[in-house]
Structure formats: structure tokens, C-alpha cells
Amino acid sequence: MADKIILEVARYSPEQDTKPCFATYEVPVHKEWVVLDALNYIKDKVDGSLTYRWSCRMGICGSCGMMVNGEPKLTCATFLSSYAHNGNKIRVEPLRYFPVVRDLVTELSDFLVKLKKVKPWLIRKDTVPLSQGEFLQTPEQLDYYKQFSMCINCTLCYSACPVVGLDPKFVGPAAIALAQRYNLDSRDQGAVERIAVLAHPEGIWGCTFVGECTKVCPKHVDPAGAIQQYKLNAVLDWLTSFLMPRGHNSQDVKP
């Protein structure tokens, strides 16, 4: 393996630049270094003005997402060694389709507003007094939604999704998957409240099942699957409401 690697890093300074340009840095390759280590090396040793987000360094906080050679990646989980064959050059850019604040830092309020719109929390229609204790759940009931609850809001899936780029209003993969996480939770009664945002041309119907959101997800959430499952339920829901205009249970799909 080469002991040096070239990093092409997108730089954008809102005060000086009208658009990003690339700066090239030479970085030593240590055996277990990830792209984030290389960025930290640049910030420590070469150019302290390089700006990017990170925190946990272990694929948990979801803040270090960037485009690495055109692919959305958690930079703390992307090893330099896996790019050593690629002409020893790595191109690091901010996550695609998000506004860039500076260098590699993106603006996330689009995503956060969308996330809030789908009400990703437990909604109860009844109010059960505290004295009655917890809402119990069997392991099967937990398994039913667990996959969708693994999301760390890293927004890699938004950068992988062309629909997000083409239609800025599209609710997007992670938010829909998280909505589905609560729809499938046996303790939740809020499916009806989420329909208006989800079963909407800018919600699930905007998705064309490109499927890339699922491929880039570091937590194996499968947002694309969540969206298609919701579509199928919406169709069944539409059919039942058509056949039995009264008394059908909208989007209640729990075991």
C-alpha cells in the first residue's frame, strides 16, 4: 500500500467564493485510518481552517457524512485503504443536494423540518394514567419495527436519492422510514395523523424506488422498502375505503 494518499477536498468560503473549488492535500496513510482521520490530519497539520462536522468517530452520531468519490459515506467508517488502489486519490465533498454552509458543512434544516412533519414520536389517542405502568411490548412486536428504528439521521440517504435533488419538497427516505417506524409500533396510535404528509405526491408517491437510499444506509434501515410497504398499504387502504366507505382502519398495519 502507498504510504501517501492525495485528498481532493471541496473548499467553500461563503465570504470569498461564489462556488466551491477543490484543494489538494497529501496525507500519510496509516493502516487503520479512515477518511475522517485524514481530514483531522489536514486540520491539525496543514490547514486549520478546514471545516467539517464529526463527533463520535464510531458510526453512531451520524454527523460526519460526506461524499467520498461521489458516494455518500460516513467518513469515520470509510477506510483510506479501500481507496488505495484508486490512483491514490480521494475526492471529499459535502453531502449532495444540501445547501453548503462552508467547506464540508451542510445545512440540515430542510431535513429537520421534514422530519418533524411526519411526527416521529409515539402518539396516543387515549391518556393512560401513569399508575397503570408501561406499555408492554413483546419481542415480536419490537422486531416488527426495529429495523426502521436504527436510523441515526446521518442524511446519507438524502444525498443518494435523485428525487430529493430534483424535488426539494420531497419528504425523503429517512423521514418516511422513521414515520413507518412509529406506524409499525404496537404502542403508537398516530398512523392516521401521518397520512396527510406521507400519502402525498411529495411523500411516498414521489419515490420511484431508485433504491440507492437503502444501499448507502450505514445502519441497514431500508428506507426504500419502508416507502414501498407504505405504498402497498395505501393502495389496500384506498381499496377498502372504496369497498367499505365506513369503518375501515386507515394505515393501521400493526401485528
Binding site: Y12, P14, E15, D17, K19, P20, G70, R96, Y97, P99, V100, V101, E107, S109, D110, V113, P139, E140, D143, Y144, P162, G165, L166, P168, K169, T208, F209, V210, G211, E212, T214, K215, D222, A224, G225, Q228, Q229, K231, L232, P255
Partner: protein
């Protein structure tokens, strides 16, 4: 120009002239195989439609009598139609395979609290495909 940017931005994001918003090229699907593959998958529908049109023409030819039908058969033998059908066949099979492989993701099947592995959900689709193809071929060739 400024007005346009404001319009393009989602309603809930404040206009912020200093943020850089990269434009999305019309050719976003070129250059990266995964997106090109998606567009090819979607374009398979064109070949689905074109074969439906050919079938409609076939039914019309049948309806118009033996002469019309032999003219239709002759038309299908022209190099252009053979080429079109060859390409169509590849696209349609591509559609079938992608369709069957994606279906289990839209239709998770839970058996006794466990989700069936995807290939177990996809396999019956392939079995149905095979059986249907054999039955139809037998019916036509008999």
C-alpha cells in the same frame, strides 16, 4: 435570477444568499452506473409498451384474415423488427428480474414473528414465471 432562487428553495428554508446550492444537472443519471441502471430499468417500460402495440397489431391482423396475418408475419421477419425484439427481450427480462427482486422489499412476509428472508419471497415469483412461461409456450405450440 434572485427571484428564481427564492422560488426554487423549499418554503420552509429561509433564503440565505451565502449558502451554496449545487444545481442538479439534467444528466444526473449519466456517469454513475447505479443511476443509469435505474433509468434503464424505468425505460424497460417503453419496450413493454412497444410489445403490447405489436401484440395489438397481431390481433388486428388475425381479425383481418389470413392474408393480413401473413403480411404481419412477414413484417416481423424484417431485420428491424428482429433487432427491436431482441433489444426488447433483453429489457423485458431485465424488468422481470428487477421486479421480482424488489418485490420482497415492498411485501415483507412475517412468519411466526420472523421476517422471511428475501430470496424465499422472491423464489415463488420465479417459479410462477417459469410455470407460466412453460404453460403459455405449450398452449401456443401444441
Amino acid at each position: 435570477m434572485r427571484q428564481e432562487i427564492v422560488k426554487a428553495a423549499p418554503a420552509y428554508t429561509e433564503f440565505h444568499p451565502r449558502w451554496y446550492r449545487a444545481p442538479v444537472s439534467v444528466y444526473w443519471w449519466l456517469g454513475q452506473w447505479r443511476y443509469l441502471k435505474f433509468i434503464l430499468r424505468e425505460l424497460s417500460s417503453l419496450f413493454v409498451a412497444s410489445f403490447v402495440v405489436i401484440t395489438l397489431l397481431q390481433v388486428r391482423a388475425l381479425r383481418n384474415g389470413p392474408e393480413a396475418y401473413s403480411r404481419f408475419q412477414h413484417w416481423l421477419q424484417s431485420p428491424w423488427m428482429i433487432a427491436l425484439n431482441l433489444v426488447s427481450f433483453l429489457f423485458v427480462v431485465f424488468h422481470t428480474i428487477t421486479w421480482f427482486n424488489l418485490a420482497p422489499r415492498a411485501m415483507p412476509i412475517w412468519v411466526r414473528g420472523k421476517r422471511l428472508p428475501e430470496f424465499l419471497v422472491a423464489a415463488p415469483n420465479y417459479a410462477i414465471w417459469l410455470v407460466a412461461s412453460v404453460v403459455i409456450a405449450w398452449f401456443v405450440l401444441r
